[in-house]
Amino acid sequence: MKRIGIDVGGTNTDAVLIDGDTILSSIKVPTTQDVMSGVKAALAHVSGSIAVSGRPLDAVMIGTTHFTNAVVERARLERVAAIRIALPSGSSLPPMCDWPEDLRTAVDPLIFMVHGGHEYDGSPIVPMIPDEIREAAMKIRDAGITSIAISATFSPLTTECEVTAAEIVRSIIPEARITLSHTLGRIGLLERENVALLNAALQSLGKTTVQAFSDALREASIAAPFFLTQNDGTVALADVAAANPVHSFASGPTNSMRGAAFLTGLTDAMVVDVGGTTSDIGCLVGGFPREANNIVHVGGVRTLFRMPDLLPVALGGGTIIDPETGKIGPRSVGYRILSEALVFGGNTLTTSDVAVAAGLIEMGDKDRVKGLDPAFVKASLERIRDMVTDSFDQMKTSAEDVPLIAVGGGAFLIPEKVLGASEVLRVENAGVANALGAAMAQVSGEVDQVFSGISRDEALATAEAEAQAAAVASGASRESLKTLEVEDIPIAYLPGGARRVRVRVIGDIELS
């Protein structure tokens, strides 16, 4: 299968063209301020090689930081409405009660709490009152808001309230774009609601971003279907993905880990992805990123959904070094590295400059760092080694030495020997691991529900069947599906053998 993978990072935009396991073409260009011209430049480069092997292109996979950046910068977000169906439950804790004030201001929410929701055993807490939903919808319409997040108690178990409420809202606001919390998050109402609200705030950006990618592809005369990469290392059709921007929050690090697995042939290892501003350390298990099973903060908001377990470290190729104290980071010149780093003619001392001075890599004008004190350079590299070693050790799952794969544009910062690592691997094309990971991605389906009153085996089987159905709906071919993860936790203090079951399945893209 012939595919293009593109990864838009904070610093670089990478692209590769692959046919099966063979890399036909690859390019790395700086991410431009308008983002899209970088994408177009990368596309223009790799698409030139499509004709080489004769067969047409099957798919384009794109990973982007657009959505995370919008949340972090509190920019390009749209006004949202929240409808929570849970009363009398939660009346003292309204939606967004624990959001940072500046983010809350940026999405300027209209909030409604109405009666309804379900208990853990599927019985209603109280009946939902359709008129309350109608009244909320009319106020939302009058305020001119069209992006709405709907959450209901135990909706991952019983979707009825959210689904019915969405129908009512749509009957009043036909153009409404509605995020239902059960489609995104897990058990834990506040966190799931937060995910749904972030998703709602990113609807416009999701649409314009996908449109811009679509235009860029058309300009490059590419007609193949295109996908956006997701937090778990899989892809979803762009139009589907545009409706769920939150599922692309961590696609960059995930893609790089998948790419590292592909490039090294290792399925179980640690991966450090060194970007321009930060590094992410993650853990590959069976070829996929280990998933976080706890609260992940996004832009200061508590969330609980499908995210990789990552440890961010403030170390990248553009990380600023204080020439007086030798302190490394946390600030970075980011995408401006090509104008601000010493070796590129700028005036800011960065980790890249130190690496060039030490002969770890050749780039820019190395004469410009000739004057750096060798002792200072050595001390800086030692500090970098300590940062890497500490973070690496924190993410390890056993005392045994494990391989460490260094990828990303700043991979040259990772030392040859790291305490606790059986080996440090650097691979050819490591600089475009992200784009490769994107190009190689598959489709997944996940279920995370509480089951009660049925046996453990029945619960696991039901969850697996539902996860498979979800994967097929996202574009996976049924024959290729395999179960990646099964986890079940008994719930304390409840009768009927209540247990939380999480199942994830994965498969190849169904080609039309």
Partner: protein, 378 residues
């Protein structure tokens, strides 16, 4: 009924009003004293913050600064923690318990008491007290977290917890007028909370202040806040938060290790399990095991028992010093294990019958107490 102005049984000058910073510290401190259980205090903290935004004040009062005959009602949340993360509290369940209790006994309550300082139940009663315009006494019935109601020092030292009131988010109020034993009360309340959807607030029969002063674990709130503050301050100063916790509580850091095995299952409605640790740093080459029943109960080093309930076995994140609850445990996690001596009130023969190793299904183990804070100072 025309409410008469209430005669205060304490001097308002003795009240300490909690700040938002105190709440942040209390969240961490209550987590530490939760010894792995007790539920997550986060939701309670949000409820308290919302109450503060609405103008209510959270006030604590020393147990010896209230008249001995004042009526004090202890209250706590009951139910499954996982259900609580989904089915958020309505917010006034505790206040309804308070009003229902006052109606039942036809007397006003003067102060609120905390049953369990470990975990979520540290903050729940604060919210009740704030909404009810009452102070909360600076003590609790456990000094940590325990899984069942009969495990409070109040029950252990003879207080009958019935009549009690149990309120859910709908407004249902259930009164248990009499239970023949504390264990019966616990059994009936558990059955009731299932009918109420897995979460409720329960207020037990009021106690007189002199009894609370005599049998409550003293200074629980000041201690929990100080513990949390020590972690926050140490982190800010880039010092070791774990040492700061030990210094305050007379605890010892007894193990540094990574979780190498974790087994969990359900027994009699409780999350039970066993965890194995492989040591690092000064514990390299050693192994340790921790038995779990909602809380961390037993600590073994190289197979030999070193610490048992009711002394506190606390797991903290090696780097942040933040407490780790049993739900957060995962393979490969790096933890520091702390042993903290429990209060002497939990060490009497009477108390050990209820909260000693035997009460948790370890008849072969005898509680051998850690050196107490007092004896360490001597």
């Amino acid at each position: 009924m025309v409410a008469e102005p209430r005669k205060l049984k304490y001097d308002e000058a003795d009240l300490r009003t909690l700040t938002v910073e105190d709440l942040d510290a209390l969240e961490i401190g209550a987590g530490i004293l939760g010894t792995g259980g007790g539920g997550n205090p986060y939701q309670g903290k949000l409820l308290a913050l919302e109450a503060m935004k609405a103008g209510y004040e959270l006030k604590i009062l020393a147990t010896d600064r209230i008249e001995p005959d004042a009526l004090c009602m202890s209250i706590g949340g009951i139910g499954a923690p996982v259900v609580g993360t989904e089915r958020l509290r309505e917010g006034r369940e505790g206040l309804r318990c308070l009003r229902a209790m006052e109606d039942l006994i036809r007397q006003p309550i003067d102060a609120i008491v905390c049953e369990e300082i470990g975990g979520a139940n540290a903050i729940n009663p604060l919210v009740t007290a704030a909404l009810g315009g009452l102070p909360i006494l600076d003590c609790d019935g456990m000094g940590r977290a325990f899984p069942e109601m009969q495990m409070t020092t109040f029950s252990i030292y003879g207080h009958s917890s019935t009549p009690s009131v149990m309120c859910d988010l709908h407004g249902n109020a259930v009164i248990f007028s009499h239970a023949v034993s504390e264990v019966w009360h616990e059994r009936m309340a558990r059955a009731c909370v299932v009918a109420q959807g897995g979460g409720a607030m329960l207020a037990t029969a009021p106690m007189q202040a002199h009894f609370v002063h005599r049998y409550g674990i003293p200074k629980s709130y000041t201690k929990a806040i100080a513990l949390g503050q020590a972690v926050i301050d140490a982190r800010k100063a880039q010092e070791d938060p774990i040492a700061a916790v030990c210094n305050l509580e007379g605890g010892r850091r007894i193990f540094n290790g990574k979780i190498t095995d974790l087994k969990r299952h359900l027994r009699g409605g409780f999350a039970v399990g066993e965890m194995e640790l492989a040591g690092f740093d000064d514990c390299t080459g050693q192994t340790a095991g921790v038995a779990i029943q909602n809380e961390f109960l037993i600590f073994r080093r190289n197979g030999k028992v070193e610490v048992t309930v009711p002394d506190l076995i606390v797991l903290l994140d090696v780097d942040t010093g933040y407490p780790i609850t049993t739900e957060m445990l995962r393979y490969g996690q790096r933890v520091a294990v702390l042993a903290i001596p429990c209060h002497d009130l939990l060490r009497s023969a009477q108390a050990l019958d209820v909260v000693g190793p035997k009460a948790f299904g370890y008849p072969e183990l005898t509680f051998s107490p850690l050196p107490s804070i007092a004896s360490q100072a001597a």
